[in-house]
């Protein structure tokens, strides 16, 4: 199929990078992985925080205040989604909790899991 279209090498590359750009724009998780793979630091924007902010990584690599600065601006529903998506809480656990209680829960439980899973020897 590609041979019939008779595109030159630059046109192929343009198509490839167009596809890549589109995917990065519309898929924040992919964009996050790509930036990390290239050694960059991911910037969390409100619109994509729920998709890409990983509480485990933030707990391990950032201060408590940085952690809270990323999550405190989120709505209850977004926090509940993050807690559930990261296996840090069930629907029962989050029932009736305020946003600030949910952020506390997120921090406490993510910290505990990181401590449990990281070697205590190294």
């Amino acid at each position: 199929m590609a041979e019939d279209e008779r595109l030159d090498a630059v046109a192929y590359l343009d198509r490839f990078f167009d596809e890549l750009r589109d995917e990065v724009r519309t898929n924040p998780k992919f964009a996050d992985r790509l930036v990390k793979a290239m050694g960059g630091k991911v910037v969390f924007e409100d619109a994509t925080k729920t998709d890409i902010a990983n509480p485990y990584i933030l707990v391990a690599d950032s201060s408590k205040s940085e952690f809270y600065s990323v999550f405190s601006s989120l709505k209850q529903s977004q926090l509940k989604k993050i807690l559930k998506d990261n296996n840090l809480a069930t629907s029962v656990d989050v029932r009736g909790k305020s946003a600030s209680q949910l952020v506390d829960m997120l921090y406490d439980r993510a910290s505990l899991k990181v401590t449990e899973r990281k070697s205590s020897y190294f």
Partner: protein
């Protein structure tokens, strides 16, 4: 040649230790022409079975080859002449067999196979040892001394010795781990296996290798391309094991399962035929592993095939 001894180990079972052992043996011998010896210390004998078949494992045992005979030498107080117990041909790849037939050896695999009898034999030894006021630690230390004398003599004949370790800390397993220059830790991208990597790091770090991070090559196996697995894999690489060297992710695939079943003791297949859809993964595994060894030893291996 001065072989590097690599223990393929994890205290958790079912993470792909034997499969990793066989993929490494095939990849290193096929792509880099290395002379590899696979030492199976696991009584389940899975890597032995994958290389030699069930019939081949039994034949080796009956011919005086394998880890049970090495353990017998310890029990009888005889020297550890490991070379005597090695099955010299554990090659399953047609390309290697043909090259050997034409006197153009480009990579080879030998094996010190295991046998299900190994665990019973070890239990018998433990009973005797403990009845004489010995401890698991003193037995592991004596076994390690015995093995060291045997494997040190073997180092000049091989480039890499792969120790397929069982998923527990029996004296035999501890002796094997203490011989290792490097540790290959296969793991699965899930919560229980992640916790298993902590147990392994804690125990090996405290008892065998205080510098484990520098000597540890981690491989995520049976990888499914799901959001959950991607997240756990990223946490392993970015948080829990961020100071380790990672290999490529090996996918969960029917090609892997097929590659690990040899049709008969005299059956061979081409590399492409054996590994099918995962041949690129095995190639990347051997590339990453030789990079890891080069960074430790300073020696650079050249690819013999592509």
């Amino acid at each position: 040649m001065t072989a590097t001894i690599a223990a393929i180990a994890n205290l958790k079972g079912g993470v792909g230790k034997s499969t990793t052992t066989v993929m490494l043996a095939d990849g290193l011998s096929y792509f880099y022409g290395l002379n590899v010896c696979v030492v199976d210390l696991d009584a389940q004998a899975n890597s032995s079975q994958m290389l030699l078949t069930e019939r081949g494992v039994q034949m080796a045992y009956e011919q005086g080859k394998g880890a049970t005979h090495l353990l017998s030498s310890f029990i009888k107080g005889e020297p550890a002449n490991v070379a005597e117990f090695i099955a010299p041909n554990a090659v399953t790849l047609e390309e290697l067999r043909i090259a050997e037939e034409n006197d153009e050896r480009l990579g080879w695999i030998s094996a010190l196979p295991s046998h299900p009898h190994l665990r019973l034999q070890e239990m018998g030894l433990e009973e005797t040892w403990y009845s004489q006021a010995g401890t698991p630690t003193s037995l592991a230390a004596k076994l390690a001394e015995h093995f060291k004398s045997g494997f040190d003599a073997l180092r000049e004949y091989y480039d890499v010795i792969l120790l397929d370790c069982p998923p527990h800390l029996s004296p035999l397993s501890r002796a094997g781990l203490s011989l290792a220059d490097v540790f290959v830790m296969p793991t699965i991208a899930d919560a229980v296996s992640t916790w298993g990597t902590k147990q392994f790091s804690d125990w090996v770090g405290a008892n065998i290798a205080p510098d484990l991070p520098k000597r540890n090559f981690v491989l995520i196996t049976r990888f499914r391309n799901t959001a959950y697995a991607k997240q756990v894999a990223s946490e392993l690489q970015d948080i829990y094991l961020k100071d380790r060297w990672f290999g490529p992710k090996i996918p969960e695939s029917v090609h892997v399962l097929n590659a690990m079943e040899r049709a008969a003791p005299d059956s061979y297949d081409t590399f492409r035929g054996k590994y099918g859809g995962v041949k690129g993964d095995v190639k990347r595994l051997s590339e990453r592993f030789t990079d890891f060894l080069s960074q430790r030893t300073g020696h650079k291996w050249q690819k013999m095939r592509d």
